[in-house]
């Protein structure tokens, strides 16, 4: 029993050793600059966002995937778009890399997130709302050609 207690103690000491629990309480400086830096407030009050952001994300996640709701406020893509930092040359820094927006807190609270095994960690590719116009030029060309043909046919008959 005594031995067991000693071993348990050792395990506890190991777990809370500074190596593993290393957050020193000093604010991490985030490298680069993000759009959010200039914003007065996030989509909800900051304190609420700090505590409940995942609730919003989970909620929006199912609404988006299953029901096709694409509102911007609680959209994951939008979070990244706003909070991702850009370095001096304007390149986005992955938001889950060390010292960046997501990672800073999640390291501190030891909550592992696997969002970025699937989601892009920087804005990449086409903008969701980008306007895509179907190129009808060739159609119009075709139509006018057909019309020309028709007209010459009609003329010919006359």
């Amino acid at each position: 029993m005594y031995q067991l207690a000693i071993r348990l103690l050792l395990v506890i000491v190991f777990i809370i050793s500074p190596d593993i629990y290393s957050h020193d309480g000093i604010n991490h400086s985030i490298k680069g600059k993000s759009k959010a830096d200039d914003a007065a407030q996030c989509v909800e009050p900051t304190e609420l966002m700090q505590k409940e952001h995942f609730v919003f994300l989970y909620h929006q996640r199912d609404k988006t995937v299953i029901n096709g709701v694409r509102t911007k406020n609680h959209s994951f893509a939008n979070c990244i778009d706003c909070h991702v930092s850009y370095d001096e040359v304007g390149e986005p820094i992955p938001i889950n890399s060390e010292g960046q927006f997501c990672q800073t807190c999640h390291v501190q609270t030891a909550v592992n997130i696997d969002c970025f095994s699937c989601h892009a960690s920087v804005p990449r590719g086409r903008k969701p709302e980008a306007h895509i116009s179907l190129n009808y030029n060739h159609l119009e060309d075709q139509v006018s050609q057909e019309i020309e043909k028709l007209v010459s046919y009609v003329e010919g008959v006359k």
């Binding site: 996640r61 199912d62 609404k63 995937v65 299953i66 029901n67 096709g68 709701v69 694409r70 509102t71 911007k72 893509a77 990244i80 778009d81 095994s117 699937c118 989601h119 892009a120 804005p123 990449r124 590719g125 086409r126 903008k127 969701p128 709302e129 980008a130 306007h131 895509i132 179907l134 190129n135 009808y136 060739h138 159609l139 139509v143 006018s144 019309i147 028709l150 007209v151 009609v154 003329e155 006359k158």
Partner: protein, 246 residues
Amino acid sequence: MSTDIKLTRRGFIVKSISVLSTVYFIPDLFAPAQAAKPLHEEVKSDTKWAMSIDVDKCASGCTACVDACVEENGLYGFDRPETDSQWIRKLTIKDIKTDKVKVVPMLCQHCENPPCCDVCPTGASFRRVDGIVMVNQHTCIGCRYCMMACPFKARSFVHENLTEQVTTAPRGKGCVESCNFCVNRIDHGIPTTACEEACMKEGHKAISFGDLSDPNSRVNKALKIKQNRRLRADLSLKQRVTYSNI
């Protein structure tokens, strides 16, 4: 009324047909704007997304649709063709009776009775009410039963860690994925898929996409012009992707 401008017969015919043709094309140009749903609204079952593929117009050697899909969804592979994902692919097929060779694009057929959704243990494979069959990658456990069930080999499993995903198409290791009719575009009011857009830009117009409940949609026009067929009709899956000239 001034009669200074002479209206020739030729001019009259050209102008009137032009006007008529605009009438014919305007619904196409503006239909998207009307059909687009506001971002905050949920999709409804009275929208019925569908695709018609005219096999005779599909050009041999052209991979515009495949390339566009790769770019749209960030499907960059690892040069391992056996495990790399393919959402749309081109097949060369030969008629058994006539020996006539054709090329067809194959993609998820978006069945109304999808076998993949029937077998999925967690319900991650699901059919959205507007007819899009897709994978909810938040609940997919990667069992690959849907791949066993699909008669069209439309699905791929992500076999490795990915890093270059695009924002509009999240995808990752250990989940199954397939064509989702460019759902991100549709939800943002862009009523065309990347493959259809590419096929149009190439000038082939083999792919027509649209809403079945909109009589003026491109897919409905294509369906009206040529008789369309479903592949493996014996399975009664009621696919939303249909083929003509096959």
